[in-house]
Subunit: 318 residues, 2 copies
């Protein structure tokens, strides 16, 4: 049995880095400062701290300026909004990223209110309503990083999108919906499936390109996949249940051995056995993940270029 | 053979009018002025003049204030933008509508630039990037009128959307994409098809709800339709070719007789013979059309209510 070709995110990310780095250096030379990313991190979520560390490290390596406003879990919503406002008015920050999730104590609407407070032209996550609308109208500059990374991966790996049937499993604002729009604008025939979809496996099986973004470990099993299809796994699920782990890998598999010693592992939404059916497939970890940070860097550069193209007077000081 | 149930737009529109009229009157009583709609009409396109007349008439009948800035075909882009700017700052106009298409002489980007100039809170067509993004994020207030009207029609006619397979034929910013998002948010499994879609008829035949919005007369023939499906026809195509007319109706049909004397007729994207297969179907004319104006009125009322809920200071005078 032929195994699916592995679509390695790191390979695409490295290629993109080599393309973007000279543009970052050129911006710095032209403007006497590096393009800048400001991160806001609130609270003690360990995963968030790891993500932010990776983003800061990447920014440094690529030649960006980056800093992080770390705020205690006790910070008020006004404190967080004030931090965003400072970055909105900062001349050295071109991109702003508020690491999600925010502490629950801030209230139900806090995340939306904070995201909405970010200046549209610095919204390097592509979450602002205006940026989402521009994406829908196929004239976006700042697009949500993960779906934009998936497109880069597909294009650079030579996967044909135009005319393909694409199924997006999941309808989140961060992945599912922008993913569907990006595939549509590249002439795929796109179906969006979700928890209320009937005959889910049968519909997924129609896909030439299947993107899974639902956050359920190993949910997409071989019967969801047309032989030869390209399967993109956006899920990053932390598994701590030994039974779930055992359902994913055959006894004795390296990943189960590691799981036995660590008690945890990261798996995608796609079951590993799908590699026996798919034509190409992104691994988890190491597939889409590296591209998300890559697109964040690309968006920060774009934001810097767009801002510097405007008259200086439009960047208010404070 | 059972014919498809006809989904009459006028019936739904009348029901909605009776619900909205009291709210319009209540607004007028509370604020000492009627909710107001400002239309900008540029040039001599006869169809545009007819549409605007209908909109002004509807506004009057429903209890709105409405006026129209008529500009000659020789108007410059700056003239049109100035007209929009006046309406943006007018305290008596809650909604602004620029009738498309604009004269070609204004240049390729003119329509987009003019639409983008409309204040987001007065954008009763739902075309502004921010309003489109809010729709995508399922928190819209002002939604594009035609797709919003289709949803009203389906809901009021008892068509089940949740769990249904919906296929949207066409991917325009005005109908196709917002239609897909609205159906998705009501838990349909949605596929968007277009000119690059392969096996188009087969994909459409999977639909429980098929929405056609491609602007090709009679394009959707019975083999596109699953028996019993609900078919919504958004197309309004002017046919002047006798051969096309003859392909749509059997010899001696009233519409062909009328066509012979007038030399023109309006037909939808759905072939009339689909009524032998579909379970329910919107006619053209008289289906979706009346709902578009209805939703425009509803959006104008919404815009007025939203504006009046804000502090007066946010409405700048000039």
């Amino acid at each position: 049995m032929t195994k699916a070709r592995r679509l390695e995110g790191q390979v695409v990310a490295s290629a993109m880095r080599e393309e973007i780095k000279p543009a970052v250096a050129a911006f710095a030379a032209a403007h006497g400062r590096r393009p800048g990313l400001g991160i806001v991190l609130v609270g003690d979520d360990p995963a968030s701290h790891v993500y932010v560390k990776h983003k800061l490290k990447a920014a440094e390596e690529w030649g960006f300026y980056a800093d992080c406003a770390r705020m205690p879990a006790s910070a008020s919503l006004d404190d967080v909004l004030a931090a965003v406002d400072r970055l909105n008015h900062s001349p050295i920050h071109d991109g702003i990223l508020v690491q999600a999730p925010l502490p629950k104590a801030l209230g139900k609407d806090a995340t939306q209110r904070v995201f909405d407070a970010i200046a549209v032209e610095k919204d390097v996550d592509g979450f602002a309503a205006e940026n989402v609308g521009l994406l829908s109208q196929n004239r976006a500059t700042l697009v949500a990083c993960t779906p934009a990374g998936v497109i880069e991966m597909l294009v650079r790996e030579g996967v044909t999108i135009a005319g393909a049937r694409a199924v997006v499993l999941g309808r989140s604002d961060i992945v599912g919906k922008p993913m569907a729009l990006l595939l549509l604008h590249r002439d795929a025939t796109v179906t969006v499936c979700h928890s209320r979809t009937k005959d889910l496996a049968a519909i997924c099986r129609e896909a030439d390109i299947l993107v899974a973004a639902i956050g359920r470990p190993g949910f997409v099993t071989p019967e969801f996949v047309k032989p030869g299809a390209t399967v993109v796994d956006v899920g990053i699920n932390q598994v701590t249940d030994a039974q779930v782990a055992a359902s994913l890998y055959p006894a004795g598999h390296t990943r189960l051995v590691n799981f036995a010693s660590r008690g945890t592992m990261l798996v995608g939404d796609v079951h590993p056995r799908v590699e026996d059916v798919a034509g190409a497939m992104t691994p988890v970890p190491g597939g889409v993940g590296p591209l998300t940070i890559t697109m964040l860097m690309k968006n920060t550069l774009l934001a810097a270029q767009n801002r510097s193209a405007k008259p200086v007077a439009t960047i208010p000081g404070q």
